[in-house]
């Protein structure tokens, strides 16, 4: 008898009696005998709770969390402060043990949360319409590319080299199977090269994908890129850091058609890479081409405001193979967390967090480049991350830093061939003391 299974052997006998069978095996009579397992699965015997805790703590003991260390690592996943209210509210089981809100009358909690989330994503990006979330920033970008190819009926995607390499890898894979060609827009001085874009773009270009702040943390000026893209009747897709939008020019201010990104930074734990959430917000023109769930406002039979899943004619359970995407489950609980984060920080808090990221990152860059041993890889405006070139490979530097419980930056040699390049991230969580210590330690390494 397992603790998660209430029916006892006595219950089972009574139920079998009602069914008219005498052995449980009769229930499985449609499975051919030669397919039935003759022995138990090779798994350990079930454990009690204390044994599970013991085992998990042993396993976890071989990990060092970002709270054991001081984290200067970003590159697409960020160590921001997570307000205490989040775990208390997101752990309400009325939220987390519910299914997709297919029965809206008993799902108004989930539905209203999504409606508010959509509103706030539109607020941050300036875009007209947001969906309810996608798996992560990388798949959101791939879905945006597919949407652009479908709506322009063109089959080439131009993607800037300054877009997160992880995102580009996922994009490459999705496009390969979809028979959409990808061309890479070279970079110049750490930003997308508009002249190169001008040469590459053509009548078959469905979309141009850029990221700002880009992978190097550099804030890209999209003015010229937007002009070139739209002159060619292509769509502009921009991947953005939601926290940066409290201070930086919004995608809509640039005339972006599809804004995407990863919203892990909005209150979600690092979780060793997932679950995070991808967001997507578009112009109203593209509303009915969007993938994923969307919540809309309506009225109930008594004329009260109520929320429902809407525009479902786009989705797989109605359109099957003609759907705009195959997505079904999304990242609802993560978008609840992102919502609580946005509400808790609010107008002033998000601006303050973004401001502190900016000034602390700049303070760190100044400290680290003061002696001349490290220099900025690019002389460009940046947000919370910056690329340095130092005296040694980043892996070697990081090996030393970890001895002092510091999690160093991302090695830029890996994807960009920038020798001795490292990408450091400084969020509002880092203190002056921690930054000074990092600078002092890095200064004595060679």
């Amino acid at each position: 008898m397992h603790r998660y299974i209430p029916n006892t052997d006595g219950d089972a006998l009574a139920m079998m009696d009602a069914i008219g069978i005498i052995s449980m095996d009769e229930l499985f009579r449609n499975i051919p005998d030669n397919l039935k397992l003759s022995a138990d699965l090779k798994l350990d015997p079930g454990l009690s709770e204390p044994e599970i805790e013991q085992r998990m703590k042993e396993l976890g003991g071989n990990n060092r969390s970002v709270n054991d260390l001081v984290c200067f690592l970003g590159a697409g996943a960020y160590d921001h402060y997570i307000p205490s209210v989040i775990k208390h509210l997101a752990k309400r089981s009325e939220f987390y043990t519910a299914y997709t809100p297919y029965q809206p009358e008993i799902s108004q909690g989930t539905l209203q949360v999504i409606f508010e989330y959509q509103t706030m994503i539109c607020g941050l990006t300036g875009m007209d319409v947001s969906n309810a979330s996608l798996y992560d920033g990388a798949t959101a970008c791939a879905e945006a590319a597919i949407m652009a190819a479908d709506s322009t009926r063109r089959s080439t995607i131009l993607v800037s080299k300054t877009v997160d390499p992880e995102t580009r890898r996922v994009l490459e894979n999705y496009m390969h199977f979809r028979n959409i060609e990808i061309k890479e827009i070279p970079m110049s001085e750490g930003v997308t090269d508009p002249e190169a874009l001008n040469t590459l773009i053509g009548t078959d270009s469905a979309a141009v994908i850029v990221q700002s702040p880009n992978f190097f943390g550099i804030i890209e000026d999209l003015t010229e890129i937007e002009r070139i893209t739209h002159d060619n009747k292509s769509l502009l897709i921009s991947s953005v850091d939601p926290i940066s939008l409290a201070v930086l020019k919004k995608p809509a201010e640039y005339g972006v058609d599809i804004a995407v990104g990863d919203a892990q930074a909005l209150g979600n734990n690092l979780n060793y890479g997932g679950p995070y959430l991808g967001f997507m917000a578009v112009t109203s023109k593209l509303m009915r081409k969007m993938p994923g769930r969307i919540v809309g406002q309506s009225l109930d039979a008594d004329g009260r405001r109520a929320f429902v899943l809407t525009l479902q004619a786009r989705e797989q359970h109605i359109r099957r193979y003609k759907a705009t995407s195959n997505i079904c489950s999304n990242q609802n609980l993560n978008s609840l967390i992102a919502s609580i984060y946005m509400v808790t920080l609010g107008k002033k808090g998000l601006m303050e967090a973004a401001y502190q990221c900016t000034e602390k990152a700049h303070y760190a860059a100044n400290r680290l480049t003061a002696s001349g041993k490290y220099k900025l890889a690019f002389k460009q405006p940046f947000f919370k991350e910056f690329a340095l070139i130092g005296p040694a490979d980043a892996d070697l530097i990081n090996k030393e830093l970890i001895k002092d419980n510091i999690l160093g930056g991302y090695n830029l040699n890996r994807d960009y061939g920038i020798q001795n390049g490292v990408l450091l991230c400084v969020t509002e969580k880092r203190t002056r003391y921690e930054i000074d210590r990092l600078a002092a330690l890095m200064e004595v390494l060679s």
């Binding site: 939220f95 209203q112 949360v113 890479g273 002033k348 002056r432």
Partner: protein
């Protein structure tokens, strides 16, 4: 309790705040001195201003308008809404798991890598496959990944004309949609009356252009595909591969394995079979298992072990590449791993047995009151076709809405598409006989109400936070965000 109908934006008051950040301890510099002003926004960020207690009450009151497995019985067919053990949540929240950066040096995440490696082994054993990739984010994403692997396999053999995937008409909507995402054409084959594969239609559909067949077994009518071995042989003889949609895996754990049935690729739904919560629509997790001949095509990275050390292996030249950032939904993997530890082999087997017992018990008790299209022992779920006899125009939707008044989440309705007025009921093993009896009584009572007071049903629900909602209005004039009046 107070009726709450406010949006967060409507309780916002200028000047209120709920955040708590220390004052910056680096010298404050005007933003314009750090970032050129043409790159800065001219608009203030549009977010509400509320206090901490406002935040807490708002979300608490919204949660009260929700219904979860912890609230009550949730017999949603094909979704396996079993109880989500609390220890799973505790383990996934441990600092040593929840707060790891995906790019940390491997030396600092050996515990996380070990967990992934072991979970791969466990899931391989349960399904009878060789290796499992934990990267896919959800069921549909797993389908997409599995189909990419199938396509890569044929392409690698130089067999490039296999551009079609066969999908039965009883399949989940994600099956054909996923095939389309991967650039396949879809051949839909008619099912036999009981939703099983019609052998004749299958034979006609097979050709050297077919890359594979997607199958759910037990199928969406809750019936085991008796001819599965023969189906596998036919598909393999035609040069195709067999894909297993693992949505219904809860029926056969420890009893039979897709790998032994002849399937080449399978996806799991950890958020169904392995008790991880659905989160109101995600995050899920959709690991993909494959047989030996497909291992080299799995997404990168995969966790490998060398001596005592675990590492992320990217050196897979034939890999399809990446399907999402990083390594998958690690937070969900922890919960599923914890669940398998708690259950063990015997527990998983008991879960499937009792899930099937519960379903058959309900089916037997309900068939005198509701239409049962196929009289056959079912697996973990069964499908009814509305009321036994047409009664005053009461339809499945009315029955579902009336169930809300009785405090239940209704079954999946109008699916599978091949059953008229379908109600797909999946009780799972975590429900007691009394719960099942009470639900059955409610359904019997509703059947009686259909005769006595049909209008009450057609207007149901009556005592939910909101009544029936005008979905057509929402789609016709979309209001997709709140706007200041």
């Amino acid at each position: 309790m107070k009726k709450y109908d406010k949006l967060i934006f409507e309780i916002s008051r200028k000047g209120r705040c709920a955040f708590s950040l220390p004052e910056s301890d680096v010298p404050r510099v005007p933003l314009e001195d750090l970032i050129p002003s043409h790159l800065l926004t001219k608009e203030e960020v549009d977010l509400p201003e509320v206090s901490e207690v406002d935040v807490v009450r708002h979300y608490t009151l919204l949660s009260n308008k929700n219904y979860g497995v912890d609230t009550g019985f949730y017999p949603l067919g094909s979704c396996t809404m079993k109880y989500n053990p609390k220890i799973n949540e505790d383990m996934s929240s441990l600092d040593c798991f929840a707060n790891l950066h995906p790019y940390q040096p491997e030396d600092t995440v050996q515990g996380a890598l070990a967990l992934m490696y072991e979970l791969d082994n466990m899931l391989s054993e349960i399904s009878g496959m060789t290796r499992v990739s934990l990267q896919p984010a959800a069921g549909a994403h797993g389908e997409m990944t599995g189909l990419m692997i199938i396509k890569a396999y044929h392409e690698n053999r130089g067999d490039t004309k296999r551009t079609k995937i066969i999908v039965p008409d009883s399949a989940h909507g994600t099956n054909p949609a996923s095939a389309a995402v991967v650039g396949f054409d879809i051949i839909e084959v008619k099912s036999a009356k009981d939703g099983t594969v019609d052998m004749q239609s299958l034979k006609e559909a097979l050709s050297d252009e077919v890359a594979g067949l997607m199958l759910t077994n037990p199928n969406t009518l809750g019936l085991f595909e008796k001819n599965i071995k023969e189906i596998a042989n036919l598909v393999h003889e035609a040069g195709g591969l067999l894909y297993y949609d693992g949505a219904n895996m809860n029926a056969i754990m420890g009893i039979a394995r897709p790998g032994d049935m002849g399937f080449d690729v399978i996806h799991y739904n950890l958020h169904k079979t392995f008790s991880t919560p659905h989160g109101g629509g995600g995050p899920g997790s959709g690991p993909v298992g494959v047989k030996e001949h497909l291992v080299e095509f799995l997404p990168v990275p995969i966790v490998e072990k060398s001596g005592d050390r675990y590492f992320l292996d990217y050196e897979k030249p034939l890999s399809i590449g990446k399907v999402k950032s990083f390594y998958g939904h690690f937070g969900i993997m922890i919960r599923a791993y914890t669940y398998i530890l708690a259950m063990g082999a015997a527990g998983l087997r008991e879960a499937s047995q009792k899930a099937v017992l519960n379903a058959n018990y309900m089916m037997i008790r309900l068939k005198d009151h509701y239409k049962l299209p196929i009289e056959e022992v079912c697996m973990h779920e069964f499908v009814l076709g509305g009321l036994k006899e047409e009664t005053n125009g009461v339809i499945t939707l009315d029955i579902a809405k009336r169930l809300l008044d009785y405090g239940y989440h209704p079954p999946t309705i109008y699916f599978p598409l091949i059953v008229h007025e379908a109600m797909m009921i999946e009780p799972t093993e975590t429900e007691s006989r009394e719960t099942l009896d009470e639900f059955i009584e409610a359904l019997i009572k509703i059947a009686k109400e259909a005769k006595d007071d049909p209008n009450m049903l057609k207007e149901a629900p009556h005592n939910t936070p909101v009544r029936r909602i005008d979905e057509a209005l929402a789609a016709r004039s979309p209001i997709l965000k709140w706007q200041k009046e």
